[in-house]
C-alpha cells in the first residue's frame, strides 16, 4: 500500500472513530437539546471518514489527515463563540438557570436589554471612534517610520528598532498608575484623547514591523527609476512606494484596530464614565434588566454584538491578516 493511500485509510478510520465517540458519549451523558450538537458533530466526522474510504484513489492529492484536522480546528475555535451566541439567545432567568448549552426558550430579549442600556450604546460609539482615530494616526506614523527603517541608512536606525522592540515587551499595567496620575493633572483623564495616545504607543511597534517587512519586498529599481525620471526622494516615496505598500498598510491597520478594540487595561484605568469608556471595560459594569436578574445572558448578548465587527473583518480580510502576522516575523 502506498504511504498516501495508507494515510487516507488510517485517517478515515480515525474520523469514523472520533464520530462514534462523539455520538456515543452524547447518547450516554448528554440530555436534549444539547444531545443534538453531539450527534451532529459525530455525524459529520463519520461522514468524513465514510467519504474518505469510498472515494478510493480518485482524489490522491487531498490529505485526509488535514481534513480531519481542519474539522477539529473549527470545532476548537468555534465552540466558545457558539456558546456565547446560544447563551445570548436564552430567554429569561429560568432558561439561564437551567444551565446547558442550547437555549430551551430562545428569543432576542437579551439583545433588546443590551441596546436599551445607555452605557453600552455610548461604549460602542466610543470604541468605534477611538479605535478608528488611533488606527488612522498610528498607521500614518508607522508608514513613515517603517519606510525609513526599510529604505534609508541613517544614524540611530538601530535605536528606532530597539525602542519598538522594548515597547512591544512593555508591561502595559506598569504604566496605568503614572498615566492615571498624569492624565488627571493635565485634564485628559476620561477623554478620547487620553485613550488614543496610549493606543498609538502600543500599536506602533507591531505596525512598524509589519510595514517594514512589506517595504523590503518592494523592488528597489522602481524607486530609482522614478528618481532618474526627476522625482525627488519625497515624490518617489509618495507616488511609487505608497501604492505598492498599500496592502501592507491595510494589514497594519487591521492589526492596530484589533488591538484598540481589544484593550481592557487602559479602558478601565483611564476612563470612568460614558464620556470615553470603551466596550471591553463597559462589559465589566453590566447589570441585568432588573436588579434581580443575573447579567449573564445580557453580557453574552453584548459580547456577541462586539464580536460581529471582528467576525466581518476576519471573513473579509483573512488572507491579508495572516500574511501580515507572519511576514517578516521569521527570516532566520
Amino acid at each position: 500500500m502506498s504511504p498516501r493511500r495508507k494515510s487516507r485509510v488510517v485517517w478515515s478510520l480515525a474520523a469514523i472513530a472520533i464520530g462514534l465517540i462523539f455520538a456515543g458519549a452524547g447518547l450516554w451523558l448528554i440530555d436534549r437539546p444539547d444531545l443534538w450538537l453531539w450527534l451532529i458533530t459525530g455525524t459529520v466526522f463519520v461522514l468524513t471518514g465514510a467519504v474518505g474510504l469510498a472515494i478510493g484513489d480518485n482524489a490522491p492529492q487531498i490529505s485526509w489527515a488535514s481534513i480531519v484536522g481542519a474539522e477539529l480546528i473549527v470545532l476548537y475555535t468555534l465552540t466558545p463563540v457558539v456558546y456565547l451566541v446560544s447563551l445570548s439567545l436564552k430567554g429569561g432567568n429560568a432558561d439561564v438557570n437551567q444551565g446547558g448549552f442550547l437555549p430551551h426558550d430562545p428569543g432576542f430579549t437579551n439583545y433588546e436589554t443590551v441596546f436599551e442600556f445607555s452605557l453600552f450604546q455610548h461604549a460602542l460609539f466610543n470604541s468605534f471612534g477611538i479605535s478608528i482615530i488611533s488606527t488612522s494616526i498610528s498607521v500614518v506614523l508607522a508608514t513613515f517610520a517603517a519606510y525609513a527603517v526599510a529604505r534609508l541608512r541613517f544614524r540611530g536606525k538601530k535605536l528606532v528598532l530597539s525602542v519598538a522592540l522594548a515597547i512591544a515587551m512593555f508591561p502595559v499595567v506598569a504604566l496605568v498608575g503614572p498615566l492615571f496620575d498624569m492624565w488627571r493633572a493635565i485634564g485628559i483623564y476620561d477623554t478620547w484623547i487620553g485613550l488614543i495616545i496610549p493606543y498609538l504607543s502600543f500599536t506602533l511597534p507591531m505596525s512598524i514591523w509589519v510595514l517594514s517587512a512589506f517595504f523590503r519586498e518592494i523592488p528597489w529599481e522602481m524607486e530609482q527609476a522614478a528618481e532618474v525620471d526627476g522625482a525627488t526622494a519625497w515624490q518617489a516615496f509618495r507616488k511609487v512606494i505608497v501604492p505598492l505598500a498599500a496592502p501592507g498598510v491595510f494589514t497594519a491597520a487591521i492589526i492596530t484596530f484589533f488591538f484598540a478594540w481589544n484593550d481592557f487595561v487602559f479602558g478601565i484605568s483611564l476612563s470612568s464614565t460614558e464620556r470615553s469608556i470603551p466596550v471591553p471595560a463597559s462589559l465589566a459594569f453590566f447589570t441585568g434588566a432588573s436588579q434581580f436578574d443575573q447579567p449573564i445572558a445580557a453580557i453574552a448578548a453584548a459580547s456577541v454584538v462586539v464580536t460581529i465587527p471582528i467576525f466581518v473583518i476576519v471573513l473579509l480580510f483573512q488572507r491579508k491578516i495572516v500574511s501580515g502576522l507572519t511576514s517578516g516575523a521569521v527570516k532566520g
Partner: protein, 313 residues
C-alpha cells in the same frame, strides 16, 4: 526636502547631483529622522516619561487620597514589596501560567500549522476560523469560559454530570485551570500562524530526501522539520511567554484576582487604581518592568538570538 537629496548616493546619483549635495549622508540622516522621529516620540511619550515618573514616585510614601502626608522614603518601598510573600506568590502564578500555556500552545499550534500547511480544500474557512480567537476581545473570551464553567448556569458541569455544588472557581487550582484554558484557546492561533510561517520555510527536498532514506515520521519531524523551524519557534516562545507573564484581563474577569490568582500585573493594578497607593504601586510597576526584562533577556540568552536579526534586520 532639498531636491538634491539622494537615497542611495553611490548607485542612484548622476555625478553632477552628487557633487552639488554638500553631504548626502547627512541629508539621508535628516530624512530618516523626519520620517521615524514622530513614531519614536509617540512611543516614548507614553512609556519613557511615565516610567521615569514611576521611578520617581516609587521613592515616596504617597497615597492619592492623602497627598499632604507624602514623604520621601528612599528605596524602602522596594524592600516592602520584595519582602512580601504576596509579591513572590504573584510572580510564581505568572511564571506557572507562562510555562503551562506556552508549552501547550506550542504543541497544539504546531498541529494546527501542519493542518494549515497541508490542506488544499476549504483553506479560507480554516484560516478564518483560526483568526476568530485571535481577533476576539480577551474580555469576551474570558466571559465565555467563565460562564461555561459556572456551576448551575454553565454547560460543562451539566455535561460531565458533576455534583451541583462543584465550582471550579472556589479554589486556586480550579481557577488557574480555567484561566489557562481561556488563554490557550485565545492565543494558540497566533502561535500556529507563526509556526506556519516557519513550516513553509522547511525545504521540501530535505523532507523528501529523508523519506527516501527511510526516515520514519518521528525522525523527519525531530531531525529535519523542527530544526529548520528554530527561528519561528523562538519568536513564538519569546512573544507568547512575555504576553502570558503580563496576563491581566482573564483573571480580572474570572476571579477578580481572588483565591491567590493575582499575577504581578493584578497586584500593580490593585495598588495603583484601587487603593491609589502611588508610591508602593510605582515600586511594583518598576519591579514588574524589571521582571519582564529579566525574562526577555533570559529567553534571548537561552536561544542565543538577537531578535532584531530574526526580524530580518
Amino acid at each position: 526636502m532639498a531636491s538634491t537629496t539622494t537615497l542611495e548616493p553611490t548607485k542612484a546619483a548622476p555625478g553632477g547631483r552628487r557633487a552639488k549635495a554638500r553631504s548626502p549622508e547627512s541629508a539621508e540622516n535628516r530624512l530618516g529622522w523626519k520620517l521615524a522621529g514622530p513614531a519614536v516620540a509617540v512611543m516614548l511619550l507614553v512609556t519613557a516619561w511615565p516610567m521615569l515618573r514611576a521611578l520617581y514616585l516609587s521613592t515616596f510614601s504617597y497615597r492619592l487620597t492623602d497627598p499632604d502626608n507624602r514623604e520621601f522614603v528612599g528605596i524602602s518601598n522596594y524592600g516592602v514589596v520584595l519582602s512580601d510573600s504576596l509579591w513572590w506568590r504573584a510572580v510564581g502564578v505568572a511564571v506557572f501560567i507562562m510555562v503551562v500555556t506556552v508549552a501547550v500552545e506550542l504543541v497544539i499550534g504546531f498541529a494546527f500549522a501542519m493542518v494549515m500547511n497541508n490542506i488544499l480544500v476549504a483553506r479560507g474557512l480554516v484560516r478564518a476560523s483560526i483568526l476568530v480567537p485571535y481577533g476576539i476581545i480577551t474580555v469576551v473570551s474570558a466571559y465565555a469560559w467563565l460562564y461555561a464553567f459556572q456551576p448551575t448556569t454553565g454547560f460543562v458541569n451539566q455535561w460531565l454530570h458533576l455534583d451541583p455544588g462543584t465550582n471550579l472557581f472556589d479554589d486556586f487550582w480550579g481557577s488557574i485551570f480555567v484561566i489557562c484554558l481561556a488563554e490557550i484557546w485565545k492565543t494558540t492561533p497566533f502561535v500556529s500562524l507563526l509556526l506556519l510561517a516557519g513550516l513553509s520555510q522547511v525545504p521540501n527536498d530535505a523532507i523528501e530526501a529523508a523519506t527516501v532514506d527511510g526516515a520514519t515520521w518521528t525522525q523527519r519531524l525531530t531531525k529535519v522539520i523542527l530544526p529548520s523551524m528554530r527561528a519561528a519557534i523562538m519568536v513564538a516562545v519569546l512573544f507568547r511567554a512575555l504576553d502570558a507573564y503580563r496576563i491581566f484581563d482573564s483573571p480580572f474577569i474570572m476571579t477578580g484576582f481572588a483565591n491567590g490568582t493575582a499575577p504581578p500585573s493584578g497586584l500593580v493594578y490593585n495598588a495603583m487604581i484601587q487603593r491609589v497607593e502611588l508610591g508602593l504601586g510605582s515600586a511594583m510597576s518598576v519591579l514588574l518592568f524589571l521582571s519582564v526584562l529579566i525574562i526577555a533577556f533570559g529567553l534571548m540568552k537561552l536561544f542565543r538570538v538577537d531578535l532584531s536579526q530574526v526580524r530580518g534586520d
